[in-house]
């Protein structure tokens, strides 16, 4: 029996990229975050034109062993924090999402032309990939709730003691390089840069 990996494509025009998040990434003070910022809004507009939010995801069974052992779809993992996060779940979603390579290229150009533009883009790109993940998360929640299940908080390799090394397993099962052009480097960094992999517990 095989698991079918599904592709999700976000609509860049409708994606909610909050200016406040971008301001937070840029280290604005609380008052400045609340005040809003024209530069940030302009950058978000520009970023919409640069990104192609895409994700691949799949639902798998999950089981536990020992004190912190989790039987993930790609193999056994020890992580007490992920264990706590997934407690009570019999299934998980695993996903990999990206906003695409065009953003990286523009960021590369901005780094040469203007630091201010580069820093703004960097922050808006970070907010954009989070937005893609949030949107996908919402869709998966609806899917789960329709079956009477609920979702746990999403958890990524590199959080706490869930080692970054787990990227390898996730890439093996989802094969995102073929489907959405997302690849994993030997350093475990993803390319395109603004990308996220995560696990979401499904309970009930």
């Amino acid at each position: 029996m095989g698991y079918t990996v599904k592709t999700y494509i976000a609509d860049s025009d409708k994606l909610i990229i909050p200016g406040r998040e971008v301001a937070r990434y840029l280290g604005y003070s609380r008052e400045a975050i609340m005040a809003g910022d024209e530069l940030i809004e302009e950058t978000i507009k520009k970023v919409r034109g640069l990104i192609a939010g895409k994700a691949v995801y799949c639902r798998y069974p999950v089981s536990f062993f020992g004190e912190d052992g989790i039987q993930m779809p790609y193999g056994a993992v020890h992580s007490s924090q992920l264990y706590d996060n997934l407690k009570g779940c019999e299934e998980i979603y695993v996903f990999a999402a990206t906003i695409g390579a065009a953003f990286d290229r523009e960021l590369g150009r901005a780094k040469i032309r203007s630091l201010a533009d580069a820093a703004l883009l960097q922050a808006a790109g970070a907010a954009a990939i989070e937005a893609v993940c949030d949107e996908l998360n919402d869709r998966l929640r609806e899917e789960a709730e329709a079956e009477g299940c609920s979702l746990h908080r999403r958890f990524s390799p590199g959080y706490g003691d869930y080692a970054l090394e787990n990227q390898k397993g996730i890439f093996e099962i989802l094969n995102p390089s073929r489907l959405i052009g997302l690849s994993l480097m030997d350093t475990l960094i993803m390319s395109p840069e603004k990308s996220v992999t995560a696990v979401i517990g499904v309970e009930g």
Binding site: E38, I40, R105, L115, A119, D186, I189
Partner: protein, 833 residues
């Protein structure tokens, strides 16, 4: 009849999909299908046999993922490839000897006469640098291992398929060409008819034909109906036969299984249309089965293929798009060439890549179609700098490049690494030079610039220059280089030295166009060497040259006179639809005229935070406008104002100490007090950088050296590729007058230590964004302590804390760029006192 003859003679049929057949036979998810060559040869032979019975000519070996990364064991790769070829041969033998395989049909009536085995090579599943981390040469070596294993077996051709990156395809083609066998390439496009890394079909044709493939086309990802537009484009531009191997429609999931929705009859109907467009090598990919391929052959067999023809398009390309010559004049930006440019010379000597990249991006903004890249200086390692310039430019700029060098080593290495089909500058009529350049052009592909000079010198008549051009065409043909891939430069030489020189050059342009139907290029601005206000003459000469048929100009796209000539010419010659580009240009023209007027201090700053500041501390009143400009973050104005101050003989150090640093301090204090935030701080930093650029220009032109407040190294540590933070620190430090050696990102500890010792550096700044790279930072500090103990370190980056910094024995933690500046000031003032 060998395969090369077969594809010229008529339709040739590839087999179809493999994955769905193997899955039906029990292949498990995660299992490597290539192992089935050894474990289930009966299944593989049976699949090949069924395709042959359907009428197929070329079998793809079951080796799509057969590379040394997946099959690393001793002899494992060779074993799998040999078994794969043996399986294909066994099926062919069975059919050709009319001996059915055990338990198989004996209806051979539909089998074709000729059968060939193609060694199938798929992508490596890793992205090449700079997008990913696989080096081009490593990719080449991996492909070469597969190719060599194939050469040891009985294969007729190599098929490189499903490539979605033209750069990876190039590595694969170069490796495959080592075999001496015919090489076919098919690439996988997405719904927007582009490869994953951006190339369109026209670009793929330019690159692949340049590299000498024997046939090219499209496979996978799409069904035949979604491929029609791609096939049209391939057939329009390709001179070699076009291959089309579609999926059986688009995949969808049904009950957890992947299914394809185009049935054999529908597939055959679509393939009939594709054959009518001019494709002549036809088969299938995912989801297609022997019935699909059988139905297709049944239909297409009744057709007559369209004749093959040599296409006359002259194309060069980057990794995303191509530029076609002969339609309207092509602009080749000349700014990355050190001849007569002191600032660029200085950048090359100091390894200041940012300056070079800025020049590239600037010319792209100024509408250059192509960038000339010449980095030849006697005191630098030209091949190394050429590779660096080409790869780094290509990482940020998608214009095609013109590789401009007289150093054959630099040329070969740049052509090999170049991602696309470049211009090659240059060859000339000298036997020796042609012998050097043409083999490289043949191997790597490119449009060769041919200078009309030979052993006898430059002819003083237009006829003499035409004659050299014709000699060069003839010699190129001997190497298999087509005339369309030669562009003749009949040489523009200064009219101040030789009064008739422009007349001769213009006449030569006309002759080459009319007599030889050839393309031409000129270094236009050479015409005015030695004259005042050169732009005026250049612009008019450019117009005259275009009137005489000039196809490309090496020029400065930042020159308004040149752009005026170009935009007007295109509008007048109906080469600019609705004069749209001309109209857009008039805005740029007006802006340029306005900015040439003295810069005013006030302006509409987008920057509200620091606008109400007092400049009481500024002693010199004439510096206040510049201070205000930097505080407000008006980049263009800051550069212009600084240039004016320098022209009025204000010393550079007065500008730095009296205006730039006080301005940055005003903003910096606001930042420290959390009244100003990062974007505003950086807009001021960008403005100060623009001011510094004006100072550097002036200093380089005067042949002086800039004073420094101290030299230090900055690097993002090994394994980490995040460099925005480090770049911010760098620019601020430079703005405060420090001399920064920027080693870049992902820098090994050894290089940092080695550079520190070699350059006698006493302060190293290290940056890391990810927890996983902190050990690399620790290692760097450890090595510095051991080998260069007088050197201090400061560290920063998202994961750093003062505690962490202490733990890894850094001398100082700096939380942001301003704090690093303060630390550097403190450090270097302590050193000098």
């Amino acid at each position: 009849m060998n395969i090369s003859e077969h594809i010229m003679a008529g339709f040739t049929y590839f087999d179809g999909g493999c994955g769905t057949i193997l899955q039906a036979a029990g292949l498990q998810p995660g299992e490597l299908p290539e192992r089935w060559n050894l474990e289930h040869p009966d299944v593989i032979q049976g699949m090949h046999y069924d395709y042959l019975l359907a009428g197929v000519n070329i079998l793809k070996t079951n080796t799509f993922g057969a590379n040394i990364m997946k099959f690393a064991g001793e002899g494992e790769l060779e074993g799998i490839i040999k078994a794969a070829v043996d399986n294909a041969r066994a099926a062919i033998n069975a059919v050709e000897s009319r001996t059915p395989l055990p338990g198989r049909s004996d209806d051979f009536s539909k089998a074709s006469e000729k059968h060939y085995v193609s060694l199938d090579i798929g992508p490596l599943g890793k992205l090449l640098k700079p997008l990913g981390d696989l080096d081009f040469e490593d990719a080449y070596e991996i492909f070469l291992k597969t190719v060599k294993a194939g050469m040891a077996c009985d294969v007729d051709l190599i098929l490189i398929e499903t490539m979605n990156d033209i750069y990876e395809a190039k590595a694969a083609i170069l490796a495959a060409k080592e075999s001496g066998l015919p090489v076919f390439l098919t690439t996988a496009y997405d719904e927007s008819h582009k490869l994953l890394t951006g190339a369109d079909p026209k670009t793929v044709v330019a690159v692949a034909e340049g590299l000498g493939v024997d046939a090219l086309g499209v496979n996978c990802s799409l069904g035949p109906d979604e491929m029609m537009g791609i096939v049209d484009e391939l057939c329009e531009y390709a001179s070699v036969p076009v291959i089309v191997n579609p999926n059986a429609g688009l995949p969808r999931t049904e009950g957890g299984k992947t299914v394809y929705d185009v049935l054999p009859e529908g597939f055959a109907k679509s393939m009939e249309q594709i054959a009518a467009k001019g494709a002549r090598i036809l088969g299938g990919c995912c989801g297609t089965t022997p019935p699909h391929i059988g139905a297709m052959i049944e239909t297409v067999r009744k057709m007559t293929p369209l004749p093959l023809s040599e296409k006359q398009h002259t194309l060069i390309s980057s990794y995303t798009h191509s530029v076609e010559f002969g339609i309207r004049p092509i602009l080749i930006g000349e700014r990355i060439n050190p001849t007569g440019k002191k600032r660029l010379k200085e950048a090359l000597r100091n390894d200041d890549m940012d300056y070079i990249l800025q020049q590239g991006l600037l010319q792209q903004d100024q509408h250059a179609d192509v960038l000339d890249v010449n980095v030849g200086l006697p005191e630098i390692d030209e091949p190394e700098m050429m590779i660096k310039a080409v790869t780094q430019l290509q990482a940020v700029c998608d214009l095609p490049l013109q590789i401009d060098t007289t150093d054959p080593v630099a040329m070969e290495r740049a052509l090999r690494r170049y991602n696309g089909k470049p211009m090659i500058n240059s060859v000339n009529g000298k036997e020796e030079v042609m012998k050097q350049v043409f083999p490289l052009a043949k191997k790597y592909g490119g449009l060769v610039v041919a200078l009309t000079i030979d052993e006898e010198g430059i002819p003083t008549t237009a006829e003499g220059r035409l004659k050299i051009a014709q000699n060069i065409y003839a010699k190129a043909a001997e190497y298999g280089i087509k005339k369309k891939d030669i562009i003749v430069d009949p040489l523009a030489m200064s009219i101040s030295a030789e009064p008739d020189s422009a007349k001769i050059t213009l006449a030569a342009l006309k002759l080459i166009r009319d007599e030889a139907q050839g393309l031409t290029s000129l270094g236009v601005s050479n015409i005015s060497f030695g004259l005042p206000k050169r732009d005026l003459v250049n612009g008019i000469f450019f117009t005259m040259a275009m009137m005489n048929g000039l196809s490309a100009a090496i020029m400065n796209p930042g020159s308004m006179e040149m752009m005026k000539a170009y935009r007007s010419f295109c509008a007048l010659k109906a080469l600019d639809e609705n004069c749209m580009e001309y109209i857009a240009f008039t805005d740029e023209y007006e802006a340029a005229v306005a900015s040439a007027a003295p810069a005013a201090a006030s302006g509409d700053a987008k920057k509200p935070a620091a606008s109400t500041v007092s400049y009481e501390g500024i002693k010199d009143e004439k510096l206040i406008p510049l201070v205000d400009t930097v505080v407000k973050g008006l980049k263009d104005k800051a550069g212009a104002l600084t240039a004016e101050l320098l022209a009025a003989d204000v010393p550079a150090m007065d500008i730095i100490d009296g205006a730039l640093i006080p301005a940055l301090d005003i903003v910096g204090k606001g930042f420290e007090a959390k009244k100003v935030f990062l974007p505003q701080l950086l807009m001021s930093a960008d403005s100060a950088s623009a001011a510094f650029e004006s100072i550097k220009e002036k200093i380089a032109a005067a042949g002086e050296k800039q004073e420094s407040k101290g030299r230090l190294i900055l690097a993002t540590v090994k394994g980490d590729i995040h460099d925005i933070g480090k770049n911010i620190v760098k620019v601020l430090l430079e703005n405060y007058g420090f001399d920064v050696i920027d080693l870049g990102k992902d820098v090994p500890p050894e290089l940092i230590v080695e550079t520190a010792i070699k350059e006698n550096i006493k302060l190293v700044g290290l940056s890391a964004l990810m927890t996983t790279t902190v050990p690399a930072m620790e290692e760097t500090i450890k090595q510095l302590h051991e080998k260069w103990p007088e050197c201090k370190t400061c560290v920063g980056g998202a994961v750093m804390t003062p505690e962490y910094a202490k733990m890894i024995q850094a001398d100082r933690y700096c939380k942001d760029a301003m704090e690093t500046v303060r630390f550097a000031e403190e450090f270097f003032s302590g050193m000098s006192s």
